[in-house]
Symmetry: C2
Subunit: 268 residues, 2 copies
Amino acid sequence: MKTRIISGAVLLPLLLFFIIYGGLPLHLAVVVISIMGMYEFYKVLSGKILPVHFFGFAMCVFYGVFAQNIVETAGMFSAMTACFIVLLMCYMVLRHKEVDVKDVFITFFGFYYVCFLLMHICLVRNHEYGQYFVWLIFIASFVCDTGAYFTGVTMGKHKLIPELSPKKTIEGSVGGVLWALVASVIFGLAISRVVVFNHISTVVLCAIIGTAGSLLSQIGDLAASAFKRYMGVKDYANLIPGHGGILDRFDSVIVTAPVVYYIMIALL
Amino acid sequence: MKTRIISGAVLLPLLLFFIIYGGLPLHLAVVVISIMGMYEFYKVLSGKILPVHFFGFAMCVFYGVFAQNIVETAGMFSAMTACFIVLLMCYMVLRHKEVDVKDVFITFFGFYYVCFLLMHICLVRNHEYGQYFVWLIFIASFVCDTGAYFTGVTMGKHKLIPELSPKKTIEGSVGGVLWALVASVIFGLAISRVVVFNHISTVVLCAIIGTAGSLLSQIGDLAASAFKRYMGVKDYANLIPGHGGILDRFDSVIVTAPVVYYIMIALL
């Protein structure tokens, strides 16, 4: 627990810098985090890093370059998806002797699961009101995460899904969502003077995003456990002391980022 | 071979009707073909149809509804991709006892490989000049396919990739591309009176599309063989007498459709 807090305290300022600064540095940071995350995902799911996985890394770099605004560049996104499949098919044909089709599927899924979803952090940040709402991604995931932990420790009785995550309790899960909701409302009140919309209250919007985000962040967390459990590993890696790998730390952000983005797009 | 020609002669008029008519009937036809194709893909790759595969079918229906113009609706496409992953994650968590993560990857890939790529037939058809260029999809795939067959039979000597497709020869492969090129040029000449562009000759455009399409159609064909070989089956199904399943017939169209679409988008 101690190392967990210490390394968290070291990485937090770094995270804060990139989010506040936004723009290219944030894009680069997300691309780097995505590649590290994909590396962990591929290594765990395929057993080791294979040549086919590099198509996934290449897609990550390419997508990182143009993912400024998904709506504007989405024609490109669809072209990219088509190219990705065709490239994988070419590789399957040319390397048919050594390639395992299972790894082709893992390469394809891994890119969307890690890079594509994480890139929504940039999409949110690049939004007109992104400099404010980008924080909700981390409020919904990290506050929920921490809130769930302490609520579970103090009043946790009933196990949530012991097969996937032995320590998680229903009380902790509910507590996490409530903590995230409270934090989102406080955040909404804080920005409600500078961020004003005619059709919706900023506080209500933050409450909706915070609740939906924190609910789904726990799905992200549990799904990551399901992936790891499937391969019989506890952590994706041991990169961040006390936190495990990049994916162990970002498994919930992976889901909250798109949730925040699409709720913003839908309601603003 | 006889049954192959007969059933081809039965299905061809049907195909012609939908392509000429376009619009909603074509969309519905492609959705139906996609679901049949995905069914075959899932059944072969996962061994049998599983509950998780229905997320793929649902995505196919949903995508079929709005895929009128990928560039306009691509924000939706990216949202859909995110939803697809999150839904699969929810399912993995709720059904963690019975779900095999491998089938989650197959479900995800199968949708993009079959439905998403095939939908480009509609995207091409909905294009301003789609009523003309949509034919190049089938010229590039079927003419190449048939041309390769007869060239291979008459002058085939050197095997192409015997492990994947024992009968294919290099001569046949080259012949197929040449036949498709000739057919595309003839088609280009035929429409060059009605379809005129300032910046590019219609014949040259058709030649480029026909060559690229036929080259990649063979990749599609061989990749399908790689999928089947991986699972140790000869055909995906035995739906169309003499042709095998939907995917055995459309394995090359799956690739030529996006090739035609994106070359059109890029050059027009």
